[in-house]
């Protein structure tokens, strides 16, 4: 029998924007906070440099390192959450591909290289659709969206 296929999350979204603006939004700390429910991407974006997704105070950051930085077409980093016991899993990998089309951009996010039975895979599969929906809203309307699970955390 075949081995269990390793989990992989792929999401495609079309945004009325330019590759430059989408790439900037993916790599700029202040902009990221506007669509990533207040979380911030932090790195100097040199290949091999540390990457961090700074979460809300009291939560451990997601850490990684930069694998690809090719503006405005391709970005990739390793992704290792350190909350909810996920630090015990190895890092996974996120890659962003940006393709210009007439008046819009196709953004493909591929998150893979998870360990078998990964709990992180379940979390990111829930998280990415909201982050990317919010990114699209921010670039098209000027307003991102806050994920309900962060709102619940704030009022708890």
């Amino acid at each position: 029998m075949n081995a269990q296929p390793r989990p992989k999350f792929v999401y495609v979204v079309y945004i009325v924007s330019t590759p430059e603006k989408v790439f900037a939004a993916l790599t700029d700390e202040k902009t990221s906070a506007q669509y990533w429910s207040g979380n911030r991407v932090v790195s100097d974006w040199k290949i091999g440099s540390p990457f961090a997704l700074k979460l809300k105070p009291g939560m451990h950051d997601v850490v990684g390192k930069v694998l690809a930085f090719d503006p405005p077409r391709r970005l990739a980093y390793t992704f290792h959450p350190h909350h909810d016991g996920l630090e015990r899993e190895g890092p996974s990998r996120v890659a962003f591909e940006i393709e210009p089309l007439a008046g819009q951009v196709r953004l493909t996010v591929t998150h893979d290289e998870f360990p078998a039975g990964s709990a992180s895979f379940k979390q990111v599969s829930k998280g990415w659709p909201h982050v990317l929906s919010s990114l699209k809203s921010l670039l098209e309307t000027g307003h991102g969206m806050v994920a309900p699970w962060y709102k619940e955390a704030e009022t708890a």
């Binding site: 999401y11 979204v13 008046g103 819009q104 909201h130 699209k136 809203s137 309900p148």
Partner: protein, 158 residues
Amino acid sequence: MSDRPRFHYVIYIRTTAEKLWRALIEPEFTKQYWAATWQESEWRKGAAWRVFKPDGELADSGEILEIEPHKRLVLTWRNEFRPELTAEGFSRLTYELEQQGDMVRLSLTHEMLEKPAGKSKFIEAVSSGWPAILSSLKSMLETGAPLEATRRWPEKVQ
């Protein structure tokens, strides 16, 4: 977990469940963001469901399996204009809408009803189509303007 070929997508849209529901089924809206197509159905359980191309030809057909306005719609769906896809038989589409504050979480699952695990050309086709259509739907509801590329029937698809 089903091992039938399937496509699953979740998108968050700043709107109300009522507006999103109308946008998913009413010709006035679908013609704007869904390749100028429209659907016809009595929108009750057991009713026939059809999608028409801009030239009036039948594109897809099926039957309403479950309907709960503003919340849930399940229907069978067979492609009627590409023989290799028609030959795969019926699929099942499920929309689930959930209001979450000022946005709606729309979950879409499109899976083959009978075809065993393996490559499905139908699922491959809808996997490439849905992200564009749903992105356009979100743009239409949030900005008033759907994506340019999805406003017309694609020329290369007959």
